[in-house]
């Protein structure tokens, strides 16, 4: 009888990185299905290419740098799928593959792999694609079910507010990126992640609320501001990325509030109709500074230590 002498604790939670990532993938499915439903076969190809090229890029990177290949933890698949859902269905597939590779190798791999990156890989890749090929990134399909093959440049709710009824905004029968249009699918995914405790409510709720408040302050209709563009998708799936948001609860609230402010400012003043990508990226960059200043009080430290 060979006794195992590994140290305490001897029991572990049954959650693992793989189960967490699997929960996120499940949460993303409704958005993917809705996206393909609205934008047809091209959208499906975009999602498939983005997910598989992310996984392939991670596999090659880890093999090339002689690390243990951990593609099984599904983190590359999540990054790929989220990036795919962030792109218009008209996106050329070679561009999608480059975006996924950039996300997995440059933004994550070069910094040391899972958990070591300081900005959200999918978001950085989307920003890189927008900077490199703006012409491909701003062509939107009019949603016409599976038949939608011809790329027609129509205005999105952001570039022509008021052009769509609120119901359309919610159902998602509006032009936009593959994953961000159907709000119900996003909320379904959010509910699943809350139920499986994959993410906390703090960041998405505070970010959406703050965007609404500041949009109102800047004179936009808060409801359309919340329901249009990538806000809901960004707040639920991208701002809550573990490695890139602050560690403490208060820090996360400050992070989400500032992100909401930035979304409103960018949408109001800058050329880009969509501010969510840059707002979250900027807050990812600022999150280490937030973590530096907003820390938890350690038991027995500070003035409360003596008599409670």
């Amino acid at each position: 009888m060979k006794l195992n002498l590994s140290p305490a604790p001897h029991v572990h939670t049954n959650q693992s990185t793989r189960t967490l990532m699997r929960n996120v993938l499940i949460a993303l499915l409704p958005c993917a299905v809705a996206g393909v439903g609205f934008f047809g076969f091209n959208a499906l190809m975009v999602l498939v290419v983005s997910t598989f090229s992310a996984v392939a890029a991670e596999y090659l990177w880890q093999a090339a740098t002689r690390q243990k290949v951990r593609v099984g933890d599904l983190s590359a698949a999540v990054t790929g799928l989220i990036l795919g859902l962030n792109l218009p269905a008209t996106a050329p597939l070679w561009m999608v593959a480059i975006g996924s590779a950039f996300a997995v190798v440059i933004v994550k791999g070069l910094f040391g792999g899972l958990g070591d990156n300081f900005v959200n890989p999918a978001l950085a890749a989307r920003a890189m694609l927008l900077a490199s090929w703006p012409q491909y990134m701003t062509r939107w399909y009019a949603p016409a079910g599976l038949a939608a093959v011809d790329a027609v440049t129509t205005a999105t709710p952001l570039s022509n507010p008021g052009g769509f009824t609120t119901l359309q905004l919610i159902l998602g029968s509006i032009p936009g990126s593959v994953g961000e249009v159907c709000k119900i699918a996003i909320l379904l995914g959010f509910a699943w992640m809350l139920y499986t405790k994959t993410v906390t409510w703090r960041i998405p709720v505070v970010m959406v609320a703050s965007t609404a408040v500041f949009s109102l302050a800047f004179g936009n209709n808060p409801l359309t501001a919340v329901l249009s563009g990538g806000l809901l998708f960004g707040a639920v799936f991208m701002a809550t990325d573990y490695a890139t948001c602050p560690m403490t609860a208060v820090g996360q609230i400050v992070y989400a509030a500032l992100a909401g402010l930035l979304v409103a400012v960018i949408r109001k003043f800058s050329d880009y109709p969509e501010g969510v990508t840059y707002a979250i990226l900027l807050m990812n960059v600022a999150s280490p500074v937030i973590d530096h200043f907003i820390t938890r009080r350690v038991y027995g430290h500070g003035k409360e230590a003596k008599n409670g």
Partner: protein
């Protein structure tokens, strides 16, 4: 009754399996007298005692077989009457050569001459602490800190509350639970003795609300005893930790690098209080305790065992392994969160060992350590408010300055972070190693 008394952080290990306690929480305690015991000299925190018997001597139950050494020294008593077989090193849980006295049990249980002090409410106050030292009593919760030293209140210090730790937040263990059900009166006696010895007005017995029957029993026993109250707490690990108990019961926080006495509180395990009552009322030394034997054994049970009983005898008493011997993966002395893995079944139990848990091979396979995804679950779980994943990076980089600057010395090594980590990273034992290293460095620097 909704009970919101709890602390920040913490985890719920094996919550779905009633903290792994269901097999033994309803099983009454029964005595078990092994055929031989190996009583170790270093069962308490502090220098091990020196044996004062030779092989061949005949010893009575309760006879001193080890003289105390140093300030933290405690006498060691024979837990059975019989003939001394051997005085030499034995394999213990964390020390391959622990000096021990092995005694063959003659099952007569012939007590040595005892000097009881009488009833706890009327006995002379100044003799209580010497009696505790003479009885060789140390913390039974797991720390094994000599109780008489804990009671040594320096001048300028005072104690206004004694907390009895009945939380038993560890998994699998039900020894305190059974003790509170079966010996509630004697526990309150022990608490009263301690309160009188230190002139303390308030005694609080803290019990987690997953043991309602124990709460009821102790409340009934505490009726009419002045200054004694029972406080139910929310079930969450590590509620039984000294710092967490003090914070929840009195609202005070022990300042860093300080002791509970600096916030005028002393924390005792219910088992220790019971031992104090034995020492005061019947003059008996600490020779036996209740231990939970559970996990992959045929008949999981709570046994009142003699100090020094070997693991193999305990398992035999519980009907042996409930599976093929080869499939046993791990035998842990203590609960799943802080227990020590036993290298062999010949390891004897010490005063502070409150459980023996047998795991099958599948349960004891260490999950592979994968990269940290910075999910922050360990930060939420840490009851002390540290940032475990960052400390782990510092331990990996062997950066002692950074680790101390980030308060690693405040870590109470409770295991919550390693338990909750989805990437199964080895955190708690890395912090333990780093803490020992920093302590050794400090001692070397000072020495």
């Amino acid at each position: 009754m909704a009970n919101n008394r709890t602390f920040r952080g913490g985890v719920h290990p094996l919550h779905e399996a009633h903290e792994g306690k269901s097999p033994t929480s309803g099983v009454a305690t029964r005595d078990f007298n092994a055929k031989a015991v190996s009583i170790m000299m270093g069962m308490h925190l502090g220098a091990p005692s020196t044996p004062c018997v030779q092989p061949g001597d005949h010893v009575k139950l309760g006879q001193v077989i080890g003289e105390p050494v140093g300030f933290l020294g405690l006498p060691v008593h024979a837990s059975v009457s019989g003939e001394v077989l051997e005085v030499g090193p034995v394999q213990s849980v964390n020390n391959p050569a622990a000096m021990a006295v092995t005694i063959k049990n003659d099952f007569k249980d012939e007590w040595v001459e005892l000097h009881p002090l009488g009833d706890v409410e009327t006995c002379p106050v100044d003799q209580i602490v010497p009696a505790i030292k003479a009885a060789g009593i140390c913390g039974m919760g797991g720390a094994a800190f000599p109780t008489h030293v804990k009671f040594a209140v320096k001048e300028g210090q005072y104690c206004d509350t004694i907390i009895l730790n009945g939380a038993e937040c560890e998994t699998h263990l039900t020894c305190d639970h059974r003790l509170m059900l079966e010996k509630s009166g004697r526990i309150v006696d022990g608490l009263r003795a301690a309160m009188r010895a230190l002139n303390v007005k308030r005694g609080v017995i803290a019990i987690e609300d997953n043991k309602p029957d124990a709460i009821e029993a102790m409340t009934k026993a505490a009726q009419g005893r002045n200054g004694v109250e029972v406080m139910p707490l929310q079930t969450k690990y590590p509620q039984g930790g000294e710092k967490q108990l003090i914070h929840v019961v009195t609202g005070r926080e022990v300042p860093t690098k300080k002791l509970p006495l600096d916030v005028h509180v002393i924390v005792l395990n219910v088992g220790t209080a019971y031992a104090i009552a034995d020492a005061v009322i019947e003059g008996k030394p600490l020779v036996s305790r209740i231990t939970t034997i559970t996990g992959k054994v045929k008949k999981p049970s709570n046994l009142r065992i003699r100090v020094g009983t070997r693991v193999e005898d305990l398992i035999a008493e519980c009907g042996g392994f409930s599976m093929d011997r080869e499939h046993v993966g791990k035998i842990v002395l203590g609960g799943a969160m802080t227990g020590f893995p036993a290298p062999t079944t010949r390891v004897p139990l010490a005063k502070a060992n409150n459980g023996v848990v047998v795991y099958c091979a599948k349960e004891s396979v260490e999950p592979e350590e994968t990269p940290c995804i910075r999910c922050g679950r360990c930060v939420d779980a840490c009851p002390i408010g540290l940032v475990p994943f960052k400390l782990k990076f510092m331990c990996e980089a062997d950066d002692m300055q950074a680790a101390s600057a980030n308060n690693i010395m405040d870590c109470v090594v409770c295991g919550s972070c390693s338990y909750i980590c989805p990437a199964h990273r080895v955190l708690t034992s890395a912090f333990k190693a780093m803490k020992d290293k920093i302590a050794a460095e400090a001692k070397k620097g000072k020495g």
